[in-house]
Symmetry: C2
Subunit: 195 residues, 2 copies
């Protein structure tokens, strides 16, 4: 299987780092190459050093490599189209928010902080030549069951990590999405008040 | 006022990008230099191109430059120690999660996606020589009032952005925190299941 060369670098209106402008979320993952373990370790290390409210680090990860029973369990938990393509990814990581401490004290910024940690993970992975696609479409209760999680641990996304695969191996409906232009709301509509 | 030279680069166990290892959250901000507008635009642009669930982009920002009435309002909303140091920052940005669409459909990943957008913002800013410190300690209702926000828009953090200032200008209690070693939980305790 050959790797497609796809460049979907964002058309930014102000200069941003190549690793941020060039990052996107493919669905075509290389279905044979195993994960580069050094790159995976670096990606997790990047998440580790992310900032969080009072350094609470309210994030946990389930890391499942393709070919393992755990990977199959994560694929099983995916919903809809995600189950069609994401199983090809060399690694599926479940990102889990710690929404309260063991003593029951709520961690109000757990989801926010988890998002930051995964952003750091994805920036590091992309910089190392891997691709990353985060999914919210999965059944968190299934993950809570097979990972035997206390209710305070909330599975929030499943993250496909691996090498870019060949777009033509995807079903046609997904191929179109894969090459559509990347679009974002103008910054003027995001900055709602400024002085 | 001279700028302190402080290097708090993380002691990572696996190689990560300099911009991720070197990023930290200072409290000493330069209290005179205005924000570099080009760098601020790049930081917001980086946030803009962040990924989000179904590309929902559930983030909004209030951008307040030091010396404006808006900046004073944001400082007023800060809690505790944050009010001591954060007013020095050239810009205070309120990061706001869009927790439901205008039609009332919940956006379950709004906080998570907002965290990612702010991570991208902070990585870009740090790469451009700015420093960033996110705060959860503030009164979101005060912000909702002065920014006239619908309840579905939830102010989540206030982000100080500017140039690094002189640590000796901080109260002594804060100086100690500023030079303490950066610590994180070992990755083995974060990856709770692996195969």
């Amino acid at each position: 299987m050959s790797t497609s060369v796809i460049d979907r670098t964002a058309s930014t209106e102000h200069p941003v780092l190549d690793v941020l402008a060039g990052r996107w979320s493919p669905r075509a993952f290389h279905s044979e190459n195993p994960i580069d373990e050094a790159k995976l370790s670096s990606a997790l290390e990047a998440a580790r050093w992310s900032p969080s409210a009072s350094n609470s680090q309210p994030w946990r990860f389930v890391v499942a490599r393709r070919g393992t029973a755990l990977h199959a369990q994560v694929v099983e938990a995916l919903r809809g189209f995600n189950q069609v393509w994401a199983g090809d990814a060399a690694v599926l990581i479940v990102a889990i928010a710690e929404t309260a401490t063991a003593d029951g004290v709520p961690l109000s910024h757990a989801l926010y902080d988890l998002g930051q940690a995964v952003a750091h993970l994805s920036v590091q992975a992309h910089s190392d030549g891997l691709v990353v696609h985060q999914m919210s479409g999965f059944d968190p209760e299934l993950v809570q069951e097979f990972a035997d999680l206390e209710p305070r641990f909330v599975p929030t996304t499943v993250i496909a990590v691996g090498e870019l695969g060949n777009i033509t191996a995807l079903p046609e409906a997904l191929q179109a999405r894969e090459s559509a232009p990347r679009v974002r709301r103008p910054i003027d509509e995001t900055v709602i008040l400024s002085a």
